[in-house]
């Protein structure tokens, strides 16, 4: 008998409560505002990581260009904030008051056309999601309709990340160049740099994160999610069964892009600037490692993986800057060779089994572990 998939299974709910307790209660109570702001910064990457779970973990499409969407979302937000910060009153000393300072430095005397609509917050908020998603739609359609996949797709998305970085750095007058868009102050007159605002932004971000998690879980537990997994395992059979494989891939890629763009916009708000150093090849591939460490199939694992890798990065690079790159490199290799399912796999194989036995005093039947419907990636790969 086929079980109808219940939305939000018990395991997901439990994991969600645990994450909520951690993010809403424990962290704000134990950390000062500076550290909490760091957590907020890390969590913006978690949006990207969740998107990658859908796209890479489930759909098998490795995108090395998530920084593009993160950056586009972030830049859309930053453009609005920058325009608000460069009102005529604030920029009196410039030769052309009322335009962003970097444009003035680059002898631009008029606000470029594509900056004009970003005076409106509504437009900016819509653009944050629509621009990156539309770009993903364009790239995805062009590639997947022609059955470009796997390694080629990864390389081309990586090239896109490189192109966008070079473009942003090169067009200094329009984008702020290598420094990015800095000195962002207020959102509709509300100072985003104060401690109070940072606290509020943190909770807004956590709320957004949970919204994204719920959407991701809904996608995973729906028929759509199953088709994605089926496509990863045996693309041809899904195609022979009458599904339009390309459209599902485009959907997964666009969803990942949308998640990344939300993360990027929140990043701009939390950190107060946006620069090409969050767009390029290196940040994009680091985002993939967050997902890999967390477990590429686990939505919650992605969040924990992001937090953990970033904590390790901050604390290690503060005290042993030399060791950090060795550590990160070793992490890449170890995750791939020894733990293809990341933290979530370790949790499932070693911790949860004992936990369940301890609580219920019995062994759970195989496959009955809540929240896990997919076989491990390593098994899947070996079966190919």
């Amino acid at each position: 008998m086929i079980k109808t998939p219940r939305f939000l299974k018990r395991g997901d709910l439990m994991a969600m409560v645990a994450l909520a307790v951690l993010l809403v209660v424990i962290l704000p109570m134990t950390l000062d505002v500076f550290r909490l702001n760091l957590v907020a910064k890390y969590l913006t990457y978690a949006f990207v990581a969740i998107g990658l779970v859908l796209c890479w973990g489930m759909g098998g499409i490795l995108s090395l260009g998530q920084g593009v969407f993160f950056g586009l979302g972030g830049y859309c937000m930053a453009m609005f904030l920058k325009l608000e910060a460069s009102s005529v009153a604030n920029t009196k000393i410039q030769s052309t008051p009322g335009i962003p300072d970097f444009m003035d430095w680059n002898q631009i005397t008029q606000l470029p056309l594509f900056w004009q609509p970003f005076h409106s917050l509504t437009f900016a908020l819509i653009a944050v999601v629509v621009v990156p998603t539309a770009f993903a739609l364009l790239v995805g359609t062009a590639m997947f309709k022609r059955r470009v996949g796997g390694v080629y797709f990864a390389i081309i998305t990586q090239a896109l990340a490189a192109i966008l970085t070079i473009l942003i750095v090169g067009q200094q007058g329009y984008t702020g160049g290598i420094n990015g868009i800095t000195d962002l102050r207020t959102l509709k007159g509300w100072d985003i740099r104060s401690d109070h605002a940072k606290l509020i932004l943190y909770f807004v971000e956590v709320a957004c994160l949970f919204a994204c998690i719920v959407v991701a879980i809904l996608i995973r537990n729906s028929k759509l999610g199953r088709i994605l997994v089926a496509m990863r395992e045996k693309e041809d059979r899904v195609r022979f069964s009458g599904y339009n494989v390309a459209n599902f891939k485009i959907f997964a890629f666009c969803a990942a892009a949308a998640f990344a763009s939300i993360g990027g916009a929140l990043f701009t708000l939390e950190v107060g600037f946006m620069s090409p150093s969050f767009v390029g090849i290196v940040p994009s591939i680091e985002m993939v490692i967050y997902t890999a460490v967390g477990g590429r199939l686990s939505i919650f694992g992605a969040v924990y993986g992001t937090l953990l890798v970033n904590f390790a990065k901050t604390s290690l690079s503060e005290s042993f800057p030399q060791l950090w790159l060795f550590g990160l490199g070793a992490l890449f290799i170890a995750v791939v060779l020894a733990f293809p399912n990341g933290l979530a796999g370790i949790w499932r194989d070693y911790v949860q089994v004992h936990l369940v036995r301890l609580i219920f005093r019995r062994r759970p039947p195989p496959g009955a572990v809540p929240g896990w419907t997919d076989d491990s990636v390593a098994d899947a790969a070996a079966a190919e």
Partner: protein, 308 residues
């Protein structure tokens, strides 16, 4: 755009830009050859390819230092030894990496990509710890410096000519090895049908290891040649990896002719555009054009039919 220049000037400009493009082309070909062998023949994505190049560059630098210190009389010829050492060092490291890392991941190409990226981070930090974060440059022997005057307005650098000669030589050697030698036949047999190649008695694991080693070794030589044109820093490899991958993919993996043709197209397009636009816009336009063409023709310029 052309109004300010006379016809003679324009001719000279095009000749000089074409020559600059040819040097870029030689470097691209050297970098891409190793990658084309590894990616094309084995299907492995080696993100650490740039770091193997840098290894070659550092080996060259070390050889130069040793010669300057102990054998100043033989300094004129140190470069040839340096290139040989770079090949051996990068090739040996490549075979070690294949044995410890890559061979466990042949069935998971995307994971190879991540693992080799990790390897590239480790190598970068290792270079930084050993050689320092600052860029190092290599002094060339007397005879390699300077330039030759062809006409009043056109002159070519000797080191550029040397790089071109080197590239031609290595390309011919690789073509010979892959297409005419016994070992090359084994490599191609493994590419076309791994199981059957194993069944007729080819040691496919050994072929894999030597193929990977050869690819990395050529990367080392490329790095060695690269020191003649630019300086070496621990992270320099990363700057070229995307370009190199695009050269290989654009040319069509598994096709040496394709790799050379695409390296030629890309380098000429870029150096010509660079004269009229800023360097970054030239790069953006070239890369965009490649990505665009790849979307229309995903298999690249030249393709080889392979039974999967």
């Amino acid at each position: 755009m052309f109004g300010d220049y006379s016809v003679g000037d324009l001719g000279a400009i095009f000749a000089m830009q074409a020559f600059a493009g040819l040097i870029l082309f030689s470097v691209f070909v050297l970098m891409a050859l190793g990658l084309a062998i590894i990616f094309g023949q084995m299907g492995v994505i080696n993100m650490a390819h740039g770091e193997f190049m840098i290894l070659g560059a550092y080996v060259t630098w070390m050889t130069k230092t040793v010669f300057q210190e102990y054998l100043p009389s033989l300094f004129a010829g140190y470069f040839f030894l340096a290139m040989a050492l770079a090949f051996v060092a990068a090739g040996a490291l490549g075979m070690l990496v294949e044995w410890t890392l890559i061979r466990h991941l042949y069935r998971r190409p995307l994971d190879t990509l991540l693992a080799t990226w990790g390897l590239s981070l480790i190598l970068q930090q290792a270079y930084r710890s050993i050689f320092g974060a600052r860029e190092v440059g290599v002094e060339l022997p007397e005879w390699m410096m300077g330039s030759k005057h062809i006409t009043d307005t056109i002159e070519v650098q000797i080191n550029g000519l040397f790089v071109m000669a080197l590239t031609t030589l290595i390309t011919c050697a690789v073509a010979y090895i892959i297409y005419w030698s016994r070992w090359g036949r084994q490599v191609r047999a493994v590419v076309q049908n791994r199981v059957m190649a194993g069944a007729v008695g080819i040691n496919t694991e050994k072929v894999d290891r030597y193929t990977f080693g050869l690819g990395c070794g050529i990367a080392g030589v490329a790095g060695s040649a690269f020191t003649m044109i630019g300086s070496t820093s621990p992270t320099a490899g990363q700057l070229y990896i995307v370009d190199t991958f695009l050269v290989v993919v654009f040319g069509g993996a598994a096709s040496l002719v394709g790799t050379i043709a695409s390296a030629f197209t890309i380098s000429q397009a870029r150096s010509t555009l660079e004269f009229f636009l800023s360097g970054s816009m030239a790069q953006v336009l070239t890369l965009l054009a490649i990505v665009g063409i790849l979307m229309l023709r995903p298999q690249g310029l030249f393709t080889l039919k392979v039974r999967k």
